[in-house]
Subunit: 350 residues, 2 copies
Amino acid sequence: MKNILIIEDSIDIRENTAEILEMSGYHVLQAGDGKDGIETAEREKPHLILCDIMMPEMSGFSVLSALSKNPETASIPFIFLTARAERADIRKGMDMGADDYLTKPFNDIELLSAIECRLNKTESQKQYYSKTLQNLQKLTAGLGDGNKELANLIGARKVKLIKKKQILYYEGDQPQGIYLVLKGSLKTLKIAKDGKELITNIYHEEDYLGINALLLDEVFTETAEAVEDAAVCLLLKDSVIELLNRYPEIGKQFIKILSNNVREKEEQLLELAYHSVRKRLASLLIRLDSPQSGTCNNFKISRDELAAISGMAAETVSRTLSDFQTEGLIEKRASHMLILDHDRLVNMKN
Amino acid sequence: MKNILIIEDSIDIRENTAEILEMSGYHVLQAGDGKDGIETAEREKPHLILCDIMMPEMSGFSVLSALSKNPETASIPFIFLTARAERADIRKGMDMGADDYLTKPFNDIELLSAIECRLNKTESQKQYYSKTLQNLQKLTAGLGDGNKELANLIGARKVKLIKKKQILYYEGDQPQGIYLVLKGSLKTLKIAKDGKELITNIYHEEDYLGINALLLDEVFTETAEAVEDAAVCLLLKDSVIELLNRYPEIGKQFIKILSNNVREKEEQLLELAYHSVRKRLASLLIRLDSPQSGTCNNFKISRDELAAISGMAAETVSRTLSDFQTEGLIEKRASHMLILDHDRLVNMKN
DNA sequence: CGAGGCATTGATCTATCTCAATTCTAGTGG
DNA sequence: CCACTAGAATTGAGATAGATCAATGCCTCG
């Protein structure tokens, strides 16, 4: 039997809702204010939480924020109850990691379907991603307790699905934490004053997104967008910092990731400063060809994107690729690229 | 009583010199060749080393180079003994980090005054830097035990002095740890195949050098060179990692430093990709003007260096600076730069 | 005070961007 | 399943910012 916790200051609504749920076979816990709600959640670890936004003393936001900080409760599906209107509030709630919201007054069917839907989704996601997570754990094995907890945090947290071209966050947004890419790929980009874009990074499965914004108390300096349909998992700032405090290994992993990043960027700066378009494009193709060391020799990417990564004009990219093709270095058909002569690309003179 | 090691293949000179020194109250160690000299130095850690340049099998340069690599011996004052002439050799020796040289034949007074002067200098430097270190400790206070230990580590380590244009480490060297800059400034640079240099970073007092090489088990990917006479302190890899394991705060500091670095690099990439030389040079001037937030409006730098940071030709830098001057944005006299109109530089259109 | 290294300035050259006109591709709806 | 269309890619022609080569002038440091 599933336990559901209702946090709601109005006795009427609370009892009424509880009744509906109990008739449907759920076991219900009730809390009349935020503080009580948090305590109950931590003690009982319910399977789902319903929480009013507007409450005296402690708002629903504070409750969600507090629960998110505790890894034990961070992953419990969380549904906001809210008076109609207040769209801004809803946005804010969802951004903070709430899973859904119900507009009061709601009827039995709305309530039950929202809850069921959420419980099902959580369940199926858990199964779906447990495979990915096993890989992750294997990957981060031997790192001791720290990573087990990190993995728990990941497994526990809700997954956010974003579709191709959708924005995960904008330059200027306040970072909420870091994202682990579970599936698909994303890119981060900066925009110059004249509107030209520069892609600064491409993230694939198992990459972390936003580490460099985690500890600097500033807004994002780049925009993150899905290159293809993707699933990411938000690890809230406070939880990650908490882990960082407890497990130095995790900090060391982050340092490694960032160090690699710095190195890559410096390499790119050197290329951009002194290498010809041919050379830069050649090395970019190599870089894209082996996203994670597995050389696959073929991938898909638009000219505009190639241009935005390498900082050249799309027409120039197009021309140069045509040259490469006639020279037998690559094969291209529309946006599909196939590397033919890896070595000659690596050793491109100029 | 101070120990002095003499490395010299000619027995006559060696014994003679030893006698002079012993009469003056020093305890003398002797070595007849480079290999023996290095071993003795490592075993006995003398207070000062005298070393002939021209020796069979292993030259004085090799001895100095070997001792410099070992942190235990790197900070021992090192004086070359050399036959007259050979000015080039002397230059080379000083560039490698020797502290002084004596031209053979030398008399008692020359020898003793050189030694005394050097020992005194080392002593006073130790005191001088202990003050800097105290500042550092104050600076990193409030970070708990971790930083106290870090500060201890720093205080314990010997200081390495490097002169202008001298190399701290080369691309391809194995990192021994990270360096804390105590005084002066250094730059790290990468070299393109055609010999052009790109300066990737400039480090000032209290900056850490080499964090990005610390945890990646690979060689340095850039060369570090002193821009002006500088003093650095080597924090050995193992000690730092040990601290990292014990004090998450330190890891977090490193993450912040690296995060900032990544951000800066991305910003530079954007500029290099899409901004005009005018704009890039303007923002570089701004960046150089305030090394650590203290706007001083005037600094010294060569055209070649400006070119190597911004990835343009030195002539272009020169031309653009002249333009800036006629526009009343800056004032320049040889390599001295003075910012006149900070705002207009920041808002440079194109 | 002299020399060698910096800095400046001029003249030329070219890699790459920009604008513009076609052609191709892939995704949509009938 | 096919035709249609909007977006993507290609190709051409022309413009230009900045690199390069070269000559001269100016510090600065011994």
